[in-house]
């Protein structure tokens, strides 16, 4: 009754306003459900609203529901900048009677003599829910509307290829996040990690499972996997303090928030790390993955011995700059090299490490000369091209102008060393030469060498055989005798033999020959001696009497024959006799 009275009052008021004859806007009459799907133990609110005052509002029959409350009517109207707006709402709170799909059918109203109808709406009634929405606590809402998500840039990176993990908090439904506190910070075992600090948390809008949410990045990490295989990313847990709006209002109509703590967890993930391909892997590969440039630079190239220079070996680019060895530089042994000084200028962004690492060597050359520092090679794997690359540095040539000579350091005498310096410049080429064929044959060890070395030895057995022959000849007595007799005859009786035809001359020659023989053998002048004396001397030498007698007879015969006639046959006999006697005596003396 009371409401009706109020209703009439409003109608009256409305009439008054319509009398003003204000703008005739299009009529809207709509239905609005608080939700379209509910548990059987829940309630639903149905609002019918119109923007012009109307008559004969007829609600639908709410079949399958019972009306718990209503209809309640609210009217608002306002003038803003001379524009009037009007809204009247009829509200019902209904509860379902049974499960199933029901239709809330049309409601109608008459506005300015015209009948307007709402659309019919479908409502699904399901099983009873645990907590009907009207009993939801702040914690429940926070659980429903707060989500932590870890976004991993790559699930199967190469060893040492950077991946990024971004932890994002999705906040929905007017919840205010006032604070968060990490409960469990992942240690990223088997990864080299670098956290990129976030200076200011700022919300942006995003969607989560199709619903609009506010998103904020809470933590950003760059990871370089250090092991191959399946690596587990530990989860990040945060305790979030959230202010959740309640249905209650304060005195001024503001929403009352209730504060709650909620733990969110995300990012437990398995990363499958691929090992670098073996194919085409350079021998000097030291684990550099990324995209690099490589330089070897000397601070000066022309200097004096004893001065120092800096040799900088640097790697520039992006990749795992902190995680590999810079190749070592090799210098000639006569240059003193000190341990390198390491320096890095690295910026870590979401894309990974970028910048430069370098080793700076201090070199002190000790001697003059030219010293090439050989080129060194740096290899890296580029994960985008999936290939190995090698960069060879340029050779650096150091020229040491002044200084002591290499190879002179052994000389203890410093003064002497200074003296020879002028002489020990690098020597000019030689201008005269005698060319000779390269191929040399060694005579030593060849057969002809052995022949010419050992063949002369054969002469010795030959000589021995010859000597043996001689011996044999000497052993042959008969022949020997005649040979010897012949020899003696030749020696002493050659004159006699020549004169064998002339009797007188023959005997003179024969006598002389006999005396010559005795003279040669006895080493005395026998021609002055008489025959007795000769016999005596011969006897002294141990000659037999017969032989002496024969000789004496021969000598006597010679004397006699000169004066007496003698036949040719006798001469011949005497000749033979003298040969036999001389031979016999020769043997004995």
């Amino acid at each position: 009754m009371k409401t009706m009275k109020f209703y009439h009052l409003l109608v009256l008021f409305g009439l008054l306003i319509s009398l003003q004859g204000f703008a005739q806007e299009t009529v809207e009459f709509t239905v609005n459900l608080s939700k379209s799907k509910l548990g059987i133990n829940e309630r639903i609110r149905v609002d019918f609203s119109m923007n012009r005052d109307g008559d004969q509002f007829t609600p639908p029959d709410f079949k399958g529901f019972r009306v718990v409350m209503g209809p309640s009517q609210s009217t608002s109207s306002s003038w803003i900048n001379g524009v009037r707006s009007f809204k009247r709402t009829f509200s019902y709170t209904i509860a379902p009677i049974q499960k199933g799909t029901f239709t809330i059918s049309q409601a109608s109203v008459v506005i300015d003599g015209k009948t307007y109808k709402t659309q019919s709406k479908e409502v699904i009634v399901t099983d009873a829910v645990k907590k009907p929405s009207d009993q939801l606590t702040a914690y429940d809402i926070a659980e429903e509307k707060l989500h932590l998500v870890a976004e991993v840039s790559k699930n199967s990176p190469y060893l040492n290829e950077p991946i990024t993990v971004v932890y994002k908090l999705y906040v929905g439904g007017n919840i205010n996040v006032s604070n968060f506190r990490p409960l469990e910070n992942p240690t990223y075992e088997n990864f080299w990690s670098s956290e990129i600090p976030i200076n200011k948390y700022s919300f942006s809008s995003g969607t989560f499972k199709g619903e609009p949410y506010n998103v904020v990045d809470l933590k950003r990490v760059v990871l370089y996997p250090q092991l191959t295989g399946e690596l587990v990313l530990e989860p990040l847990s945060l305790e979030i303090t959230a202010d959740v709006p309640t249905n209650r209002r304060d005195f001024f109509g503001g929403v009352i928030y209730s504060s709650t703590n909620k733990v969110v967890t995300a990012g437990k993930r398995t990363i499958n790390v691929k090992s670098l391909p073996e194919e085409g892997k350079p021998a000097n590969f030291s684990g550099a993955v990324g995209d690099y440039n490589f330089f070897v630079e000397a601070s000066k190239k022309i200097l004096n011995a004893g001065e120092s220079l800096q040799l900088k070996v640097s790697v520039k680019g992006s990749g795992n700059l902190k995680l590999f060895q810079i190749p070592e530089v090799k210098v000639p042994a006569s240059i003193e090299r000190y341990d390198p000084e390491f320096s890095e200028a690295i910026k870590t962004t979401l894309g990974g490490m970028q910048g430069e690492v370098s080793n700076s060597y201090t070199l002190v050359p000790g001697y003059k000369g030219k010293y090439p520092i050989p080129s060194i090679s740096f290899s890296y794997f580029n994960p985008t091209t999936k290939r190995y690359h090698s960069i060879d540095s340029e050779e650096v040539l150091l020229q040491i102008l002044e200084g002591p000579e290499l190879g002179q350091e052994d000389q203890p005498n410093q003064v002497q060393k200074l003296e020879v310096v002028a002489d020990d410049q690098f020597k000019f080429i030689e201008l005269q030469t005698n060319l000779r064929p390269i191929e040399k044959k060694n005579f030593f060890g060849t057969i002809s060498y052995y022949l010419s070395w050992l063949l002369p030895l054969l002469l010795i057995p030959l000589a021995i055989i010859y000597g043996k022959n001689q011996q044999k000849r000497r052993g042959d007595v008969e022949g020997n005798r005649s040979r010897r007799a012949n020899q003696l005859a030749k020696k002493y009786l050659s004159a006699a033999k020549k004169a064998i035809a002339d009797k007188e001359e023959f005997y003179v020659a024969l006598e002389r020959a006999l005396h010559h023989f005795l003279k040669a053998k006895l080493k005395i002048e026998t021609s002055e001696l008489n025959k007795d004396k000769i016999a005596e001397i011969l006897l002294d030498r141990g000659i037999e009497n017969d032989d002496i007698k024969e000789l004496i007879q021969l000598l006597e015969h010679c004397d006699m024959a000169r004066y007496s006639p003698i036949s040719a046959g006798e001469i011949q006999t005497d000749y033979q006799q003298s040969i036999a006697t001389i031979t016999k005596l020769d043997k004995k003396i």
Partner: protein, 253 residues
Amino acid sequence: MEWRKRFVISLLFLCSFSLALAQGMNSFEAANKAYNQGDYSQAVSEYQKIIEDGEESFEVYFNLGNSYYKLNDVANSIYNYEKAALIDKNHPALQVNLSYARGMTIDAINQKSESGISKVFNEFILSVELSTWTYFSIVLMLLFVSFYLIFLLWNSTKIKRLAFILSIISFLLSLSAYGLASRHQSLEAKDRPAIIFSNTVVKAEPNDRGAVLFELHIGTKVQIVDQLGNWAQVQLADGQEGWLLEDSIKRLK
């Protein structure tokens, strides 16, 4: 007519011989000129031409070493200086320039000191050329034989005695000359120097699985001790040994 023909032939022969020599000399002079003008690569190719034609001399190797030094080619420079050292080890200019070239090498190797007596003995043997030892042994053998024949065939006891003593002495000398010659030959055969031409690792075994002992860099001189397949066992001047791939070295002999 006959003698004229013969003369022409022998003249032609002489000419061709001296032509070959002259060609070598021409290259040598051209190379020297190129060197002096600073065209070292031209000098290198001219000197190499002489060697390719089968001729050599200390000066060719020395000058070639100089040219390579000027071109900063460490390995080739040292290789040719060492070739020159095989002909004349004690040349003063060679020693200076070789020490310059050695300054460019990376490896520092200490010389192992050999025991005194054997070193002096070996150096004495190597200081005399092999052919000299060879001819010594032959001449002494001839002396022995002739003295021995004198001993055998002479009648005088005095001469016989003297000849016998002389023959024994010359026989012993001939034997030792032979021994020294063969020692010289074996020392030379054992001396198989080589120069490292590309940086390489020296392994404990002649295969890829062998542990890496140390690293050698271009220009270092090694002695080849043994060989297996394409691996060579080398010894450094300080006595260290190991195996390396044959293609990283170049033999001097």
